[in-house]
């Protein structure tokens, strides 16, 4: 009778712990399974309840074994493999290790509610294991609790933590056959074709400039097409089948697709991408001047030229919004005045009314930023009314008719040595030199080469970089940051060609 009471109490506690843990498992799996997670939760609650009910009625060993099997599934499958290994250890141990040494990546964590429910799942499964143990003791009538399971659990926990620490560390692995494969992820068709091709050429130039290296460096071109879905397949192929050792990329849209794949494969991605969230400081790093840096440099130059009043003529486009926001902050900070601000859609081809409105307020400079074909149409219409006091950020460098922007000044990436541009144009005649991209592509490739030549894991090597003297001047990066910072320079169109006016 007493034994029965003990068994019932142990069974109730065990079932309650399974129910609570199943609810936590359901919450945790909502992010992956969506509404199907409720089905999983139902199986985890109803299954054990039915088996226990069967056991209580019949004392069937099959029912009891089935119930224990369900417990085992919850404890090992969800508690240890998912809750402990994928949430609790990354959150606590992974974060601690990454704070202590750059050999460990900062863990990539899911949203807070997913990670916290993962940790709760692990805690819940510990209760499931403890109450299942009590139930087994009550079932077989073992009166005295043994200290052995607790000691074994602590030992097993220690082994798991040690295994996690070993696995989490990024180690140097010498390239097989002495060949380092570097994936170049850029689109070579569609709207990014010009940037993609010139990016590829810059990386090829960096490769051909290598002399006396320990390893051979092979480029693996990953044509990502135009759509992120197509890109994912191509990138996965490069990582899994081509087994690339590192990745250089050049367009944010594809850098965003690459980020989780590079993290999963634990390989370095350096990206000439303006979307800073791609740079996680673990395996993914961006390298391009920020809109804020462009804004600061632009206003410095405007002040140097005695400019007080500015008219804005800009296209409604996300990239341009980024520059404009940063520019406006700096303009306000410097006490300059925006006399007029007009934004146009990509369907506009007649800018004469807009130009006349801006002209009526006699600005010192017209800030113009648009993509082609509108950029050149606007340039032509400004030239028609003899407006030459134009300034911009990057835009004139991508004009197909730079002569329209004669005497226009603008900020763009710096070049430590102008001969780099000349050499590129001589090597690849007809390929546009995208100043805001090329030197960074060249530097990104060389960072990877330096890592291998020094015998360091490339991701760890880049994590440790604080300052890098590259083709675009000095790049800097804060501790733990995934974004390299650089100072832009001032350029001017002279005789139809971009000329670098200033250095940092």
């Amino acid at each position: 009778m007493i034994q029965d009471l003990g068994l019932h109490r142990a069974a109730r506690r065990s079932l309650l712990s399974i129910g609570v843990t199943a609810a936590l498992i359901t919450i945790n799996h909502l992010s992956v399974l969506g509404p199907k997670a409720f089905g999983l939760g139902a199986v985890l609650i109803v299954g054990p309840a039915l088996l226990l009910w069967w056991f209580k009625r019949t004392r069937s060993n099959v029912a009891f074994a089935g119930y224990l099997a369900m417990n085992l599934w919850v404890v090992i499958g969800f508690g240890l493999l998912k809750g402990l290994w994928k949430s609790t250890l990354p959150v606590f141990v992974g974060t601690l290790l990454s704070a202590l040494s750059t050999a460990y990546p900062r863990p990539t964590l899911a949203p807070v509610w997913v990670e916290v429910s993962g940790v709760a799942m692990f805690i819940g499964s510990a209760f499931v294991a403890a109450f299942a143990y009590q139930l087994v003791r009550a079932r077989w009538g073992t009166a005295r609790a043994s200290g052995l399971p607790a000691s074994a659990a602590i030992l097993a926990f220690g082994v798991i933590v040690a295994a996690y620490m070993v696995r989490d560390r990024d180690r140097w692995v010498a390239p097989s056959n002495g060949i380092v494969k570097i994936g170049v992820i850029v689109p070579t068709s569609g709207p990014y074709v010009v940037l993609g091709n010139s990016f590829l050429k810059a990386v090829q130039m960096a490769q051909s400039d290598l002399r006396g290296t320990k390893y051979q460096y092979q480029l693996v071109l990953v044509d990502v097409g135009q759509e992120p879905g197509q890109a994912r397949t191509a990138i996965l192929h490069a990582i899994r089948d081509e087994r690339v050792d590192a990745i250089v990329g050049g367009i944010s849209r594809f850098g965003q697709v690459t980020r989780p794949l590079a993290t999963q494969a634990r390989i370095l991605q350096t990206c000439v991408c303006s979307v800073t969230s791609i740079g996680d400081g673990a395996y993914n790093f961006t390298n391009i001047p920020s809109p804020e840096a462009e804004g600061v440099r632009w206003v410095q130059e405007a002040q140097r030229r005695g400019i007080r009043n500015i008219a804005l003529l800009t296209q409604d486009y996300p990239s341009i919004h980024g520059h404009l926001e940063a520019l406006k902050v700096e303009i306000r900070r410097a006490g300059l005045t925006i006399t007029d601000a007009q934004e146009f859609a990509d369907s506009v081809t007649d800018f004469r009314t807009m130009i006349a409105r801006a002209q009526a307020l006699h600005p010192d400079v017209y800030y113009v930023e648009a993509l082609n074909p509108q950029l050149d149409v606007l340039g032509q219409q400004l030239a028609d009314v003899k407006i030459r006091n134009i300034a911009s950020v990057v835009a004139p460098s991508v004009s197909q008719r730079p002569e329209l922007f004669e005497a226009t000044w603008y900020t763009d990436s710096n070049l430590r040595d102008f001969a780099f541009k000349t050499r590129f144009e001589r090597l690849y005649p007809g390929t546009q030199f995208a100043t805001h991209m090329m030197p960074y592509a060249y530097d990104d490739f060389n960072m990877i080469v330096q890592a291998f030549e020094r015998g360091e894991n490339p991701a760890v090597y880049v994590r440790n970089i604080r300052s890098y003297d590259g083709n675009a001047g000095t790049l800097t990066k804060g501790q733990g940051s995934g974004n390299f910072q650089s100072t832009p320079a001032v350029w001017e169109i002279e005789h139809g060609k971009p000329v670098l006016l200033s250095h940092q």
């Binding site: 974060t95 900062r106 990539t108 849209r253 991408c273 673990a282 809109p291 990239s319 835009a395 995934g482």
Partner: protein, 46 residues
Amino acid sequence: MTKVTRTSMLVALVIATMLGGATLITRRNNVAMNSAHQETPSGFLH
């Protein structure tokens, strides 16, 4: 305070610390790793 009460309180404290700690660490980590927000390209076309 009985031994059972003391143990229960200790276990509750450990659980609360783990969940609270996980919340804080994950939030700070996601901010540091730029995982918490989505951006559109801010440079020229990329």
